[in-house]
Symmetry: C3
Subunit: 461 residues, 3 copies
């Protein structure tokens, strides 16, 4: 759009006089980006600044005035200034009386100040209506027009009308306002953009711990043991063979940990005879990060699939197979097909494929856009029924993988069982308990409890 | 948030007096969850209950009064009671006159009652304005704050203003209201949460039928035939070999069934000379579930890819290859490279890879969040142009797979052709008809018809 | 819904008299579809048409009147007529005075007329308030109820109130209105549905160019060279071997091109000492299509993975391996395990797997529904930190792939180095420059500049 057209554009809304002038205090990066976007959306914009000389960076159609002058021109004033400089606003208290101040500031650290910036602003200018908004939007994204990350703008404030007006602006800019309630929510909103995957912390830390443990476990069994007893150097197992042991183990353990809290909750509810008492805190938190646990498990399962499919291309595997065949040819004997082996191999691979396939299906349904398009019953069906089927298939895959050597003494090295046997403990426990809970004598009272029935009712509706 | 802060929070909106008090009849599971969420969003909440003694489960900042008292405090009354207990509301008819009653109830079965719960409520309390809402939201999801499943709240009602007010509350709770029209839509809205993938029923039933047929077909050809004639036990083929025959066959047939209705529709339109007559019902339904058919086809194609990639790891395959090589070595002969075989093998694999790659692309574009971000022309380009290319590649993949043995008499066992040959019937038909339809003599009239031209116009604009 | 119920439905909103009558000029395809949907949503609909005889295609509950009569019945008039026929509206100028005219037309070509259809309409009927809307919605999608493609309706217009009313209708139809500002935006809105992946054009053209170049490069080295010097026919390499060389090369080059503009921008900012000057145009455009570049790179990487995993199934590879083993057996020698080879092979495969895994993660986070649910810091972490890690892993994968033969003279054919060596130039440059930029002496000033500091400030806030 050329300069002419953008002048007309700025004129036309003024002519129809429908969009109210917005004042922005501060001509910094974010203030300019926001002003630019607002002018595009038809809002006349006035900047309040210490130096009123127009800068080439400020949008052309915006006026630049002193703070006091600019504030008088608008009802809504966006405070695009850092918290440290808020003090000067007290001198403008009279002019700001009754105005809507939009606090868009962020902090550098979580809970940096005792009160949120928005609450601090409300204390400084008690006569104004403070609304928190726009702090989750990036200046760069506003400018470039590529709002790849969140379009959601969290809005909070004590005055409903002020909040509605700000939410109207948010909508006009093509963003999605989310009303978060009173100004007390500002602290949480200010912390939001500082968070780095808070829900993923526990699953990822847990995985790191388990990966480290199983890495050293496999190192001892698969590299150090043959080195000590057979003087063979299998150090290159670190690249693929050991990761391909660790990944399926972690996938299975983490997947079973997704279903363990549900089983524990059922036991607690059956024991207490009511669902109206809070679960212990750790169980609540565990239940809230089940989705993340499941997705980390899926990541390990995917790596396991890739590591497994790459096996026939490995130089070591090709060498092993060819030397086996050569020695067979030299000793002039052809082995007949071992039908049991063929069955075991094929069925453990088939179980793994089906388990992984269902696992990926679960992952796809957990995508926000997909889960938004299913109703609650469908979501529960997928996550619970298909989820347990996945767990059964993956556990069976691991059990059949052990095959004939499962629990045979020769698979112990230095009294250590194979790593995959350790991974079976949690999923088998979950499946056994779940199987017990399906029996009518337990399932019936549990269903009743979950529908609100209480063994020892404490109150009556 | 500690008790203090939540008290202040409840106070502040009261002070600014902007959010209207909401009354909730019933202190059951959902009533409490909804009340809790509303208080969080700044609504003062009053519970109407038979027993007015405060329970520890009811949100702290909510009052609990008798039904009559509670109803008088609010304009909007949420009926969180089961339909069987609606009768007592007739006694409150006077107090409820002019109030907005929000019916949030669900049934246990589809079309359980002749009229929807909301219409029943409207009949019981004719003076009130009944709005249907919130029935698709789960109590658990509201409480835990993890609305993984749908955030969409279907709203319907005869009074526009009442509906607008309820939709305002829905928005304030961070949910997305969807206006579904007058109260007549309530039946459909009440049925919605009881549905379990209704659009997927036909594709899944069809797949089950085809899977069963092809399973027994392959069982006869690949396991029973060699057992009878060569006394070989290939029963382990059930695990991988036979699924890996069934999956590509189903993927190809279902994919071609996605494009068959479009071809049929074109023929019908050409024959009729107008697009302004309804297609037969079965064709309409078929066209509406094409996306689901395609996704089921993609699922089978993915399984086929996994089953195929796992082939070299199978114990049977390793045995077969090694015994071939050993016998070669023992007979002291080295086969030269068969260039035709190399060409056939490589090109059928390449066609399969490209076909699967495009198929996955199609699947990704059908994700709601992706298809929402493309315009209609782009969506049509992907689903139609790329879709046909996928079908061509997959059909070619199957044809080249047959290679030299295609239609050779030795591939018939008990007069049964190979299963993959059966799978080629539908896709080849679709492609041939589509190819014919591309010819200008047919394409031109079809385009005209689709732009609204009629051979025998019945009315004129 | 049977006829009865739909009559009641049309009646009830009239009774409560809340939804305003909407008039639609034109009974063409889109006019009818829109009218049908509006009646479903409770709007009384009147059609304005040249012929007022009811057609069986027009929704039953809608009246059909002459243009003048119909216009008088409603405030909002939807102009479902093609631009060529707009002229007759001048004769209705008086009746249309003060009405809201909704222009829903589209053109056949980009920028077909000097002014947009909506602006042309506004010139023809200067007394009316023109609003542009609905042009991005498909008639078919409205009718069938399957709005798979965009639910977004772009709305623009000079009169705020008129725009608000139209946006209200859009919302009532279950669509999402997006306010695009004044009527000047109409041109862009009318061009939108004609676009075909405009952001993808550059990445796809670039890929085509590179694919062509590398195809002929590999053709010369891998097929023509052995044919000329060794008289071997490897023409079947065209199907898999050569694509499997091209795909990883393109994936690596395109991925590094995603990170090159960021590095260039940093150098420019450091050189200029300010971030407040526009980047050159080509750099701006390049930065805006980084996401598309990355996704095309991911597509090539996925193809590379499929081509690689299929290797052991290829007839040529099976022949090569078996003839190697047979010749080993015949010469009666068994090779010992080459530990260096095992290390190189395993570690290059492992690097590739991890790189691809991270690459897929990046792809998943770029899905709109996922990126909408992360905050800005998380988005930056994934796209920048994980992105560079992916680039490092993929570059290392390619370097280790070269292994011992890297830069050895025997890998030159006709003085041409292996193709993968060419692919390393850009990624290595990017990584080296990025590594230099991390040093504190450069990183510190860069961070300051990006926070708004200027070496030679031109204005002061």
């Amino acid at each position: 759009m050329n300069k002419n057209s953008s002048n007309i554009m700025a004129l036309s809304p003024t002519a129809s006089n429908k969009r109210e002038t917005v004042c922005i205090f501060g001509t910094g990066d974010f203030g300019r980006a926001l002003g630019h976007k607002m002018i595009q959306s038809g809002y006349p914009v006035v900047y309040g600044s210490r130096s009123t000389q127009a800068s080439s960076l400020i949008p052309k159609d915006a006026e630049v005035l002193s703070h006091a002058e600019a504030a008088q021109k608008a009802t809504i004033i966006i405070i695009a200034i850092q918290r440290q400089h808020y003090n000067f606003l007290t001198s403008l208290a009279e002019i700001l009386h009754g105005k809507i101040l939009v606090d868009i500031s962020n902090n550098v650290k979580l809970n940096q100040y005792p009160e949120s910036n928005a609450e601090y602003l409300a204390q400084l200018v008690p006569g104004a209506k403070v609304v928190k908004a726009f702090n989750t939007v990036s200046a760069w994204a506003l400018q470039s027009g590529t709002l790849d990350a969140s379009r959601q703008v969290f809005v909070c404030g004590d005055d409903m009308e002020a909040k509605q007006m700000v939410m109207g602006i948010v909508r006009a800019l093509g963003l999605t306002p989310l009303d978060q309630g009173s100004l007390l929510a500002a602290q949480e909103i200010e912390n939001y953009p500082l968070q780095l995957f808070p829900m993923w912390k526990f699953p990822i830390l847990l995985s790191f711990g388990l990966v480290t443990f199983f890495f050293f476990y496999c190192l001892i069994r698969d590299i150090i043991y043959p080195y000590v007893y057979e003087n063979k150097d299998f150090s290159f197992f670190i690249a693929i063979s050991i990761p391909n042991r660790i990944c399926p183990i972690l996938a299975l353990i983490l997947l079973s940990l997704v279903y363990l809290p549900g089983v524990l909750a059922a036991i607690i509810q059956l024991y207490r005879g009511t669902k109206y008492r809070r679960f212990p805190d750790w169980l609540d938190k565990w239940m809230l990060c089940r989705k993340q646990l499941g997705l980390v498990a899926l990541a390990f399962a995917s790596l396991h699939v890739l590591y497994t499919l790459i096996i026939p291309i490995r130089s070591f595997v090709r060498w092993r197979i060819s030397s086996q065949i050569v020695s067979q040819a030299l000793s002039n004997k052809t082995e007949p097909l071992n039908n049991t082996n063929a069955w075991l191999s094929d069925s453990y691979l088939a179980l793994g494929i089906l388990g992984f396939f269902l696992f990926v299906l679960l992952g796809i349904t957990s995508l926000p856009s997909v889960s938004n398009n299913v109703n609650w019953r469908e979501f529960r069906f997928v996550q619970s029924k298909l989820g347990y089927l996945t767990l059964v298939l993956c556990t069976a895959h691991t059990l059949v993988y052990g095959g004939k050597w499962f629990l045979s003494p020769s698979s112990y090295r230095w009294y250590l069982p194979s790593a995959y046997m350790l991974s079976l403990i949690v999923p088998c426990t979950v499946l056994v308990v779940k199987f017990v809970l399906i029996f009518p004598c337990l399932d019936k009272p549990l269903t009743q409890i979950r529908q609100g029935w209480e063994r020892n009712p404490q109150y009556s509706e």
